[in-house]
Amino acid sequence: MRRAVWWAARLYPDEWRMRYGAEFDALLDDAGLQWRDLADVIRGAVIMRMATWMSYWKMAALAGIAGAMLAAGVSFAIPNRYVATAALQIEPNQDAQGTVGYGSHQLQQGLEQRQRLEELKLEILSRDNLMPLVQRLDLYRGRRSRVPVEDIAEEMVRKHLRIIPFSAQVGSVGQAFRISFEYPDRFKARAVVVELISQFQSKSLQLRQDQRLGWIIESGTVLRILEAPLTPVTPISPARGSIAVAGAMAGMVMGSLFVTVWRRTRKHAVLNISLPDEIRPFVASRIGPGGYRSASEYIRVLIREDEKRKSGSHS
């Protein structure tokens, strides 16, 4: 039980133990301890910890608020980004279906539409096709003064322009896909999508015309717009709420770290003390129940006692 109380006494904050630890341990050694003393010591440690944490939490809360405000301010410096989207579907030509029989070639037609989408996609997303578009719609104006337009076209495909197939309605033969473009100017975002739809339409038409000129392709292509592109209203980024919350969290962590480091550097200087082998066992024997909490505490007490002796000899 004495050991349990001794360990409970280690729950007190370091600052409190620096001041009262030695005499508190002496009291525990002298007093005939009872089980209720264990609860009493734990309660006392919790109360002291609460008193210490109050300043800790205040600092963390202040740093958290500052972090949230800073992060929110930074987030407003980041330009909004909008995404314009349209959904389309490549379908077999009705005339062709009538000729070759829709049901018997359903699977084959589906594969053909998918392949055709990939061909059209490669053509439309090619650097040669996008470079004039970038210049005509005056996209990436700032970057164009520093980076070749070829690189900008590649970056546009890699980061901001998406053509993604998806499953349309059950029983539908055609291949559905979505075009989306992300850009800070919401009107230009929509303009790019409109332009790309127009290119898909014209290139699909060419394929059909080729069929009429006598190409041996069993099915032609019709492009149907499932969702027309609208001018986006709500930006997708930056997520200012999330940025502010992240700033608050980071501020709280930084505030807590600052208080910890500040307290340690203010009150403690780290000295490396080497001990000869013959002294070490004695120092180790002074640490434990009824003794000192650590070698550092033991050395601190010795230094204080020497300090007192020195001041006494001068007076």
Partner: protein
């Protein structure tokens, strides 16, 4: 009277004592055994308020001394308690 701060001040009123001596003294005159956590909680508060002060110690047992402000506070509290006790005693007589 079970307020630990008043009990500690009352214990120190007749001379300096270290923690264990206070604990024994309080148990003797008040019949209350203060646990180590309660006793040192009271000592911490009293020292923060400068109603007691820790003296230099030869060993780990640091004695404490009541200050002038602490003595004044104790006198005020005792006077207040005395009025309560006197009133209660008179009313019990007439009841």
């Amino acid at each position: 009277m079970t307020d630990p701060t008043l009990l500690v001040l009352a214990s120190l009123a007749d001379g300096d004592k270290h923690g264990y001596a206070m604990m024994e003294d309080i148990e003797r005159f008040a019949g209350v055994r203060l646990g180590p956590g309660t006793l040192y909680g009271a000592i911490t508060r009293l020292e923060e308020r400068r109603w007691i002060r820790g003296l230099d110690a030869d060993d780990r047992r640091r004695p404490y001394q009541i200050t002038g402000a602490g003595r004044q506070y104790l006198e005020e509290q005792v006077a207040s308690l005395g009025r309560v006790v006197k009133t209660a005693r008179e009313r019990l007589k007439h009841a």
